[in-house]
Symmetry: D2
């Protein structure tokens, strides 16, 4: 069996980690048990580019148990958990991933997935989809369909679709309510601070926290900044409706050029580039800390930071100190990459449970509807979404109401007045 | 000039109230000043069924100043502010509204609006639209278009549209982001508790608050319950995704049958009927308080409460005490009608500013596009929505960022990887 | 029977209000029932200067039922509820109170209480204690003891004590944990905003709220400002430790001179004078709203505001609009008096339940220890305090743990290590 | 120079960590610079038993720079950061500490401090004070004074004092407002969850969190549980006043026997033993997680847990899985020791800045008042406390108001009325 990981002897440690994830992923475990008999993926090659974490491992094992052959590469050069990678190899997954890859190595791994000719393609950020469409478009005809995990990836795929270049159907798992409303908001909200605390052990109480972007991720980060006691939570936005929502949610809003002067901690979550750049670094206080929660490491514009600095050093494992020419020191966390994945462990299992239950169900849906789906970026069917939510509530011991027959009629009707 | 209000001598008191609203409605005031010269509504008859409050008055004055003739009826028998009604008559509006109408009187007022043959129809709950479609469908041909302010009304109108019965285009002002995300959530969230406090002067801290429905309104109410110190905030939902969102937002979720046993205060915001009914009253604690924040007074099912009670009395202006056969006492606020409108003053001016700026702009849009709009329930154009948000931010002295040229290109492109 | 109230015919309306308070004051009701048989106050004259509200009425009725004769004056010229005053006359209390007194009338009422030669003296703000010590010191020898409800009053009495002038023992009911930690924080915190909303119907979400003073009252107000969605909550303090606590509680801190420029709503809760004064009015934004939550109407320094204004008018019942010479408009609520008492109904019954249970028990304690208490301002005995807390928890259906025997020993011992 | 640490080659890594702490401890750094010239501790032996962290290192360096000789042992067998210990040796501190000591080794280190005959004794938990008083009381005469960092330690020392056994003056640094109100509440509040997240990577949103104890530590933990989105935060207390405060702060209160059935995560912060014990383990849900934030590892009663279990295994570095005889699994974090110190890095530098500024100033105060202090457990002088607060605010760029002369007079006076 072909694979490439850091150290296979880490497998048992990885297996223990995965067992903890299994405890906290009740929905996916239920699906795994359910489909391990019928094995609907029997003989199907599933190729995935996902962060190689213990939660991804539970998804990979679910595919294996459901009959699939599976190959996996990491979706970020710094995010792979090497012990988990090793454990997955032992479980039979073709893993091409290790922590601390070069850009070249990263793409080498992606090419391994492509070479293997996957029939279902799972992606996180659309690098694999892009690679196939750009360099291996001949492979597309044998692909049943793909999924995409992130907002950023969906934007890229929709651009492909608009240009008429999309070659296989894609389900935007990111757009499942039970994915983006929970994963992006609660998962990233918590884990971003988890990453910041592991990297710095700073006290958030009393700090001025600047959050760039008030999408789902930014909303989650702002809420947790408030919940951890920040004395000011400042939101930076370009969209007036989101900006206004931030204001009414109890946050300050201002341009980055103003926020730069007062912030203690800056967290980017926009999906855009150069959100914090030269003109902002120039105004920052000595001791300012920069972290990124967006998919790519372009939000804090490092070339500008380098250009302004006379020296830099690694002061703690995930803290780089830049000493600027004027003597101020600015601290960049995790080299501007996803702080929650690099300095902490990414999303908690509990949210990945739903994201990956959606991944699994979306893959199954594409397989069952093979050949009949349009060449589009589709949202997941709402029934799957609601099923995931129901299973999650049940796993928490929570019951909800259902409408009475009279109520169902009432909401359908329009002929009743004051 | 034809009108019917309680007492014209209240006009000066009403005018003072309206001037306070004008201070707090900067967006609408800006539009009013802007269009008072060109008078684009010159000669157009605008018929409105809206809660007759000081904020509605600012909208009515904006139409008048923009050249319209205006007739106004109240959209709820208990929500009219009589002094404001009087002041509007003095400003030249045909007002048919007074506080404490019978059902018959309520519809008499609506008929007066219809008789007057309005060309643009503004509604809040769709009673006027329903009346026209049911009894005066011949009038529809002279109607340029309509707007609808509430979620409930939009549901009713969409039902009409589905059945192919809709006779003029309607803009669902409710669906403007700057309306429903703000008005329903922040406006009703605060004013519901304002109503409860004015009615009861209860301490919210330490209480168990049950919120039925976790739509925008329910979200706002739950957030404020938490913000006022409730020791438990319990959400009741029928939709599993919303239920799960409530859980992850930090609230308890359970069926009403369980919540009924522990709640101190029950607030309904579902848009459905009989959400609190016999089986729930039977389990409630002595002293339970019931309030409704939904459009119609059907959410707390009063017939069941009456049937279970051996006596009732009005203990405070907006508090009815029901003494049940077993001796327990249950307190119903505002007769089960919208507690924020009946016991308090409805939405604060600041949110109505945006809702009514949307009403005004939507009316203008329909006028400008007369004859070319489809017979549908449409969402407001996003440009209008963003314009309202921008004006609001400006009025608060808040500046936001705009994307650099490079950023604009970046978000459009898809060919960039890790 | 001697008394002076506005209108005796309001008695039945007052009685209904009082019955609602009785529902929400379970601790005091329990004490009232308990002592209505033994009548420990039989023949004792209890003279009280308290805000004449429905909650005070429940305390007065408890004294009456326990055998006392009772005389009552209001502790603020604007805070009396006339219907409650009337109902209390019917219950046998000598009431001297009506809403809207002149300063002269206010002191006339206090003199009526003094003339009546009370043996136990209940006060709220220490005006009665001051009056006795300044003008009627000969009366002191017949006074068993006094109580004081407020922080401000306790400060005044301690000054008297320090100067060796205190003539009878006083229990600082304010210092009971079950009073000041709850009444000042949760009671005033909520009711201050209740008053502001009733006066203005403003939206708190999105506003910049400035709170002067971070004592118990200020803490409560700041927490509720946050809970209602203010986008900035700014605390102004003179004490560095409290200022730092505010920062770490997640609030901004700055001097009033800076806060004046950015605040939308200013709320004073310092117990000091001229906290908002000329130099601050000069910097405020057009539309700024001023409210006071401190005992005396000296915190917003009205003479300065008058001096800066070219006109003023009453725009709503509790809103005075000052038009400054430069055209800006500043809005003063409730004439700078306690906004929660003037524009709303003061503390909710639930907190007064504990304050007044302490008043009742402190009075009983002084009576039982007549002659043996020192001429000091004493804190209430901790057993009474804990008894009130226990009864309150029970009334809410809440059980708590008690230590096991082993745990009790453990916390007493010191000979156990790591 | 005598010392015993794990590995001296870790020193440079430790030094980098310490430089990060120095960045975040502006108050202590200011004092360090201030006293490095006069060297008031010249020739004085300072013996300390404190958690050996980067923040403690900054304190030790301040003593060294101020002229002292310093010996340091760890105050917990599991809390030492070995790299910091190494760096301190290089700075000239006699360090006796390494991570993962046996009980015997722990006391061996304490004996080394005693042997060294310290003149000023700094302690955290009073193990050193106890050791001196129990076994080396002859040493006491040469001790100028001691300090104590924790609530638990102060309780033990007060017991000694009550029994008349205290042999040197002790300043309860814990009782400085700038220590206990910040360190215990904000520091432990955050770092407890930091420890839990590092150990488990669980999602707090949606969880039922049970907090035992509502002192400063418990308050901080409960606030952060809420801030991280827990759907129920349940407080367990034995003191009725604290219990009631928890209720009014918006938390549920119930006995542990009830909480045991519904909790997902249990956190103890009582200072008492066996707060979670057999009767509670028996009721817990499968998957329950237990963490302790109190000083000693007695709050979760491990002997009971062991007795109920058929097996246990280390599933993650700080997670022990107990499999109970009935098949349920319960997860104990950090072996029941302080989760914030064992699984995370203890208090953030920002709070230790104040605690240790107090430690330093208290030591200096005892030195300056050598021989004139009573044999008591004293609170720190308020001037020192306020000085620390002022320096902290300044370091954050925050200015506060000071009273005007008129205001100072006003608050002193009592002769002003309504």
């Amino acid at each position: 069996m072909d694979y490439r990981v850091k150290d296979l002897s880490l497998a048992s440690q990885g297996a223990a980690k995965i067992s903890w994830a299994e405890q906290n992923m009740p929905v996916l475990m239920l699906l795994r048990r359910k489909y391990s008999e019928a094995k609907p993926f029997k003989g199907v090659r599933v190729g995935a580019v996902l962060h190689v974490t213990k939660e991804t491992a539970v998804l990979m094992k679910a595919f294996i148990d459901a009959g699939a052959e599976v190959a996996l590469a990491g979706s970020n050069p710094l995010s792979t958990q090497d012990d988990v990678a090793a454990a997955l190899v032992e479980y039979g997954v073709h893993v091409y991933a290790w922590r601390g890859q070069s850009g070249e190595e990263y793409y080498w791994c992606l090419e391994k997935i492509v070479e293997w000719r996957p029939q279902i393609v799972l992606d996180d950020g659309a690098d694999l989809h892009a690679l196939i469409h750009e360099k291996h478009v001949q492979l597309a005809s044998s692909i049943v369909g793909g999924t995409e995990e992130t907002t950023t990836g969906v934007i890229r795929l929709r651009a492909l679709e608009r240009e008429g270049l999309l070659k296989y159907p894609v389900i935007a798992v990111n757009n499942a309510y039970t994915k983006h409303m929970f994963d992006n908001r609660y998962g990233t909200g918590q884990s971003t601070f988890d990453g910041i605390l592991r990297a710095t052990n700073m006290l958030i109480a009393g700090k001025v926290v600047v959050v760039a972007g008030y999408g789902w991720v930014g909303k989650g980060i702002a809420a947790r900044a408030r919940g951890l006691g920040a004395r000011r939570v400042i939101v930076v936005e370009v969209n007036p409706i989101r900006a206004l929502e931030a204001v009414y949610d109890g946050f300050e809003v201002m341009p980055m050029s103003e926020a730069a002067e007062v912030g203690d901690i800056f967290i980017t979550a926009t999906g855009n580039k150069a959100v914090v750049r030269r003109e902002h670094f120039e105004k920052m206080k000595n001791g300012a800390v920069l972290a990124n929660a967006g998919h790519f490491n372009v939000e804090v514009w490092i070339p500008d930071l380098e250009a302004l600095s006379r020296s830099k050093r690694q002061i703690l494992p995930y803290v780089t100190e830049y000493e600027l020419s004027d003597g101020r020191r600015i601290y960049l966390l995790a080299e501007g990459r996803l702080v929650n994945l690099v300095a902490a462990e990414g999303h908690p299992s509990e949210v990945m449970d739903m994201s990956f239950a959606n991944q699994f169900l979306a893959s199954l849906y594409m397989l069952e509807n093979k050949g009949s789906l349009p060449l589009k970026v589709m949202n997941p069917p709402v029934e799957l979404d609601e099923m995931v939510a129901r299973l999650k509530l049940e796993s928490m011991g929570i019951r909800i109401d259902s409408m009475t027959r009279e109520q169902e009629e009432y909401v359908k009707s329009w002929r009743h007045g004051t």
